[in-house]
């Protein structure tokens, strides 16, 4: 009998048929350097110590777990536990990856970091790390997103970053990534591209996942220590997929634990205006990796739509595509309205205001919780707080009139 392979041990460049490096030759040396630097860092105990120390004294880890019984009652006879990544410094899970990659940038001797951002959370986290480590920082952000996330633009500027509005294409996250890649191709000698999700060419999907996997490692242990069981369902929202992979990774080989990812269905799965890449997309190549993506029959990327800037992306990380094909994780769509109602519900039942991105997972639990056996337990990644969304929320519910 052959030894059982562990899903957790998959480290790229490919996850099944997905992943790889579909990028200009100009970037290969930088990707090799990053891969090598990361391998050395992983083998170096001082790196882990440095990262742990920053997580403890700067990020605020470990993040706590909060059980939310009044919210759970909306979803049937189940228990719901939130992994509180919203309580991290800068307000979302994004900081986990940023601190790790900034340390790698320092090890590579790079003085400048660039980043893309959709909702602005990754941009804010990158600008924060740049301030902390004394790095120059340029953040590319679709012009549409600079408008709907104006407060985060102000935060990035306050932190000393330059924010470049991207005016080509759909003017959202996908185009911000294009522009960041162009910058990187031109400035690869002194610049690290601090990619903010588990997409992109190898080794990014693996590195970003590893830095976020602290979420699931902590949460799994906290469930065992504090409650004495593993949850029946582990769930998160999925745009590029970083917070979901971060939570899922430690549970991949716990076969009894179901994994649910909730994508943005925008105005509806049957409309053209959604961002449900895994549910409705086809396999292709976007931003350097083979994965599911939204595209037309010519292979042109279709613009996604979501009320949440952070999920408004027509691609998804290759590891999610692999988990979908393996049927290890299930992915569902949640509409703009379902997400907004769930955001309001958690705020009003538990006094926790989630990001609109995160609200997609909360809506998913309300929607599908009733399919679970009574007494089932759900662990949800509360990936970000909703402060940045108050303008969208205020308009949506008429609070600003």
């Amino acid at each position: 009998m052959t030894e059982k392979t562990h899903l957790q041990d998959q480290n790229g460049p490919y996850f099944g048929e997905y992943g790889g490096r579909f990028v200009p030759e100009s970037l290969i040396a930088a990707l090799d350097q990053l891969e090598e630097t990361y391998a050395k860092a992983k083998a170096d105990p001082t790196f882990a110590l440095e990262l742990d120390e920053l997580n403890k004294t700067y990020v605020g880890r470990p993040s706590i777990i909060t059980e939310v019984p009044k919210f759970a009652a909306l979803a049937g006879d189940i228990r719901v536990f939130l992994k509180r990544e919203d309580l991290n410094h800068t307000g979302s899970h994004k900081i986990n990856n940023v601190i790790g990659q900034a340390l790698l940038a320092k090890r590579m001797g790079k003085k400048r970091i660039i980043a893309e951002t959709g909702a602005g959370q990754h941009g804010v986290a990158s600008a924060t790390a740049a301030a902390l480590f004394g790095l120059e920082c340029v953040v590319y952000m679709g012009e549409v997103d600079t408008q709907r996330q104006a407060l985060n633009v102000a935060r990035m500027k306050l932190l000393g970053a330059e924010v470049v509005p991207v005016t080509t294409g759909s003017r959202t996250l996908k185009d911000a990534i294009n522009e960041a890649l162009r910058d990187w191709v031109a400035n690869v000698d002194d610049t690290h591209y601090l990619l903010g999700t588990v997409a992109g060419p190898h080794p990014f999907p693996t590195i970003v996942r590893d830095f976020h996997s602290v979420i699931g490692r902590e949460a799994r242990q906290q469930m065992l220590d504090d409650y004495g069981f593993l949850p029946d369902v582990v769930t998160a929202c999925v745009g590029g997929g970083s917070n979901a992979i971060g939570l899922f990774h430690s549970f991949l080989d716990d076969e009894e634990v179901a994994l649910w990812g909730f994508e943005a269905a925008g105005e509806g799965m049957d409309t053209m205006r959604h961002a449900a890449t895994l549910s409705k997309g086809k396999v292709g190549v976007l931003h350097g990796a083979k994965s599911y993506m939204l595209q037309d029959e010519d292979g042109q990327t279709i613009e996604s739509h979501s009320i949440s800037a952070g999920l408004d992306y027509p691609g998804v990380g290759p590891e999610h595509s692999w988990l979908k094909d393996l049927n290890r994780a299930q992915y569902f769509g949640i509409s703009d309205d379902e997400a907004m109602q769930a955001l309001k519900a958690l705020s009003q039942t538990e006094g926790i205001i989630p990001a609109i991105e995160t609200a997609h997972a909360l809506a998913g639990v309300i929607k599908y919780g009733s399919t679970l056996a009574p007494g089932s337990t759900v662990l949800l990644n509360l990936s970000g707080r909703g402060d940045k969304d108050m303008e969208t929320v205020g308009k949506y519910f008429g609070f600003l009139e």
Binding site: G20, R21, F22, V23, P24, E25, S26, I28, A29, A30, D32, T168, G169, K174, D175, N178, L181, R182, V185, A186, N187, V188, D189, K282, G284, V285, L286, H287, G288, Q295, E297, D298, G299, Q300, T301
Partner: protein
């Protein structure tokens, strides 16, 4: 031997500079792009690099981005491409290499794309975001159909990677002159010479052409002094955009070393 290689070798022997000109298919319309490409060939470019418009062109600067975006807005579809190509190859003898990002080809089907490319008289493919490591299918079908296969060599490529590019390219090797994306630059990077000599040191027979940032006749001459050809794109699109087909022809003649 590849006809593209034969042509570049002949020009080299005759001491003539080689000029490779880029233009996007479907810009500003399908019919206009055919006329523009034919005009470029008739005005003196030696090889045509015909671009397939793509929604996410990460190797291209703003001039080409805007042009290809306009082609897509004006209704360019891949289904029109091979007819467009055939219209060009039936009117001029200039070798036509197609430059395309990988996803459109993947969706069309690599084998089907290669066969239709061959049938329409295309010489081969330039793949800006397909490195040899990911190109097994394309290597197979381009071998079967004897199509040119142009990979890129860059200032940051290791010697091992330059060896690989040299071994697997056919037609020519695309030496990236500087670390950057397409678009005219005033000072052509001296790094270009380093890339070319790195490729030449592999003792390859495949010609090496230099692209990215070339916009003047002087640069074309300079590049041809140490490489086998100069690849020019953005300046032709600017010429066409600002002065139509006459300005495009004038620019080709000027870069070709006329006046």
């Amino acid at each position: 031997m590849s006809k593209t290689e034969e042509l570049l070798n002949t020009l080299e022997l005759e001491g003539k500079p080689a000029l490779i000109g880029y233009f996007p298919a479907g810009y500003p319309t399908v019919a206009d792009s055919v006329e523009a490409c034919v005009a470029m060939c008739e005005s003196g470019i030696d090889i045509l690099e015909l671009g397939v418009p793509y929604s996410d062109p990460v190797m291209d600067g703003l001039v080409i981005q805007v042009a290809t975006e306009q082609a897509l807005t004006n209704g360019f579809k891949l289904s029109m491409f091979f007819d467009l190509l055939k219209q060009i190859t039936s009117r001029v003898a200039t070798p036509v290499l197609v430059m395309s990002y990988w996803n459109p080809i993947m969706q069309y089907g690599v084998e089907r794309f290669a066969k239709d490319l061959k049938a329409a008289g295309g010489a081969g493919l330039i793949t800006p975001d397909l490195i040899p490591d990911e190109a097994a299918d394309w290597i197979r079908y381009s071998d079967e159909l004897e199509l040119d296969r142009v990979f890129m060599a860059t200032p940051s490529s290791s010697q091992a990677r330059l060896d690989q590019v040299a071994r697997l390219s056919r037609g020519f090797i695309y030496a990236v002159s500087t670390m950057g994306i397409t678009g005219a630059r005033e000072d052509l990077d001296a790094k270009a010479r380093g890339v070319v000599s790195g490729v030449k040191s592999t003792k390859t027979d495949v010609p090496v052409c230099v692209g990215i940032g070339i916009s003047t006749a002087e640069q074309v001459t300079e590049v041809n002094s140490y490489a086998d050809g100069a690849i020019v794109g953005s300046i032709f699109i600017k010429a066409y955009r600002d002065g139509g087909i006459e300005e495009l022809k004038r620019t080709v003649k000027q870069l070709k070393g006329g006046n």
